[in-house]
């Protein structure tokens, strides 16, 4: 079984970000910062992980055992395994869509969640929608593999509205990035 690998997750996310965005200077700067941040400090973690107990996505957490795949407006929808905040699906937006007038953050924290329909783990980017007051609907706080601030890409308390015209937090989406291989 594959171990949980923050480095690989970060790389996949960055490749997606690099492939799907223009060369606007703000994004380039954010991308550079993100590349620089995880590259060096995470290397020793990867080595240390070899000796750690099994915590693969396939070993199901309490959340994964009860998650459902039918209703995106409920906290137990499978992609929300590490989400914190108001669900954009309850605020006029969608699972990967910001409500009208708000703006998606180009960077995000991530989760690795198991789809109950195929039993496979997927990398989910929790992109905040920014620029409106807090939506307040459907507040969830799920914490599978959620870490602390020194590993911000896996922390769900940070306001991720970087690079948007306003840093005001409105709601959170759960964008499927790909299979967590």
């Amino acid at each position: 079984m594959k171990k949980f690998d923050a480095d690989a997750m970060g790389e996949k996310l960055l490749r997606r970000l690099a492939g799907g965005t223009s060369r606007r200077s703000m994004l380039s700067r954010l991308g550079a910062a993100l590349v620089a941040a995880p590259a060096f400090p995470l290397l020793p973690v990867s080595r240390a992980e070899a000796a750690k107990p099994d915590r693969s996505p396939e070993a199901k957490t309490a959340f994964a055992r009860t998650a459902q795949s039918k209703d995106e407006t409920k906290c137990d929808y499978w992609r929300y395994c590490a989400i914190d905040g108001a669900l954009c699906t309850c605020c006029g937006g969608g699972i990967h869509s910001c409500p009208a007038g708000s703006e998606p953050s180009p960077v995000s924290w991530v989760g690795t969640c198991i789809n109950p329909d195929d039993g496979k783990a997927y990398l989910i980017a929790y992109r905040d929608c920014c620029g409106k007051p807090a939506c307040g609907q459907c507040g969830c706080d799920n914490t599978d593999r959620e870490t602390q601030l020194y590993m911000p890409q896996l922390n769900n308390d940070v306001i991720w509205c970087f690079g948007t015209s306003s840093m005001e937090y409105h709601c959170s989406t759960a964008v499927l990035v790909g299979a967590a291989s």
């Binding site: 400090p41 992980e49 107990p53 957490t61 309490a62 007051p133 593999r145 940070v158 840093m167």
Partner: protein, 392 residues
């Protein structure tokens, strides 16, 4: 509006005020000993922070940090903290410092980051120290810290590159921004600068010489992904030590200095005579949890930890028990059940210490540590981090 109408309006208003005054006087209770005097509005001058005072951040839904007297249970004032601001108290008790972010047009316009300085007696804004940037996150006590001598402030920043803003609190000037790649959550390191926890499982020490920073790392001693250390750890300025607690319940002590020494960990569950916490699913056990899950009483060396029954990755869950750990003997000396789950815990460092907790409903509890008697239950106190005058 014609001038006659304006005069008429003011005449009516004046009559209204006069009537109000008359009614007020008539409604007042009979006082036969002294004539009631007309009053003027004034403003209270407070005392500097006292050992049994505590400060409750209102959290996401309630701006402001309310100040309570733990002995009386009464609110005595409020420090102006907006959403996602961080407050720190001058060790000499003269100032409250607030690291905060505002925009020129409410939630848009020009962003302004600053450390606002308030005097502790009048709670008046003395000055604003402009800083380049700061992280936006709530419920953290180690993103804005002050050196033990009160002269330097450290404000953590994530832009999303990781760095720290150094602030001279004597000259009230921003000094420098130093990069802190892969690390966050700071503690003072007296005579050196500061230390911080890192994603590689190490403790970084940042030696500051003016605006120059030299970063060294301890050997990795924890796993940031498998068993992270809660970033709301404690710091003991008397012993120059930090106490660290991980999601599974491992406890370390680190002696700070140019090259900090980190103790071997012990399990809080084993210290209570039960099996240690594990990371694997389906392992039901007692785990530490909450936003501010532990508090250290320095004089006794006892650590108070919010514990709940659950599975691993439930680290934000509120505690249903408080476990009192004697750090010297590595034993849990008491387990106290709570009537209502609590999310943040702090202890005063006075001769008669009080344990303070608050929960997700914003209710705060004040408990006498000597007797475990509930002295006060304060509704709508606030639901986020708790600070005391001489925090650990």
């Amino acid at each position: 509006m014609s001038s006659a109408a304006v005069r008429g309006f003011f005449a009516t208003a004046a009559m209204g005020f006069a009537l109000c005054a008359a009614v007020t006087v008539q409604a007042a209770p009979a006082d036969t000993t002294a004539a009631l005097e007309p009053e003027t509005s004034d403003v209270v001058t407070m005392e500097p922070p006292k050992p049994n005072w505590f400060f409750v951040d209102g959290g996401w839904d309630m701006p402001g940090t309310s100040i309570f007297d733990g002995d009386s249970g009464k609110m005595v004032g409020m420090v102006e903290t907006r959403r996602l601001a961080d407050m720190a108290i001058d060790p000499a008790g003269k100032y409250y410092y607030v690291a905060e972010t505002i925009w020129s047009k409410g939630d848009r316009g020009t962003r302004q980051d600053m450390v606002s300085v308030y005097d502790t007696r009048e709670l008046k804004l003395i000055t604003e120290i402009t800083i380049p940037d700061r992280i936006l996150i709530g419920s953290r006590k180690n993103n804005f810290i002050i050196s033990d001598d009160g002269k330097t402030g450290f404000v953590y920043n994530l832009s999303p590159a990781s760095s720290v803003n150094i602030v001279d609190l004597v000259k009230r000037k921003f000094v420098a921004n130093v990069e802190l790649p892969g690390c966050a959550s700071m503690m003072p390191n007296p005579g050196v600068g500061f230390s911080a926890l890192c994603a590689d499982g190490s403790l970084a020490t940042v030696k500051l010489t003016g605006s120059k920073a030299d970063i060294t790392h301890s050997a990795p001693f924890f796993s940031a992904t498998d068993d992270p250390i809660f970033d709301n750890f404690t710091y003991d300025r008397k012993k120059k030590e930090t106490t660290l607690l991980s999601y599974t319940g491992q406890i370390w002590t680190a002696k700070l200095g140019p090259a900090p020494t980190i103790s071997a960990p012990f399990s809080i569950q084993a210290a209570a005579g039960i099996r240690p916490g594990e990371t694997k699913p389906l392992e039901l056990n007692w785990y530490p949890g909450g936003r501010q899950p532990m508090a250290l009483h320095r004089a006794t060396g006892h650590l108070f930890v919010l514990m709940h029954m659950g599975e691993y990755w439930s680290h934000k869950a509120s505690g249903t028990e408080v476990w009192e750990v004697d750090l010297a003997t590595q034993k849990v000396v008491k387990r106290r059940p709570l009537e209502e789950p609590m999310n943040n815990i702090e202890v005063t460092q006075s001769d008669k210490p009080l344990l303070i907790m608050d929960g997700e409903k914003g209710t705060a509890l004040v408990i006498d540590l000597a007797t475990w008697e509930e002295k006060h239950k304060i509704e709508k106190a606030g639901g986020s981090t708790i600070t005391v005058a001489d925090p650990s």
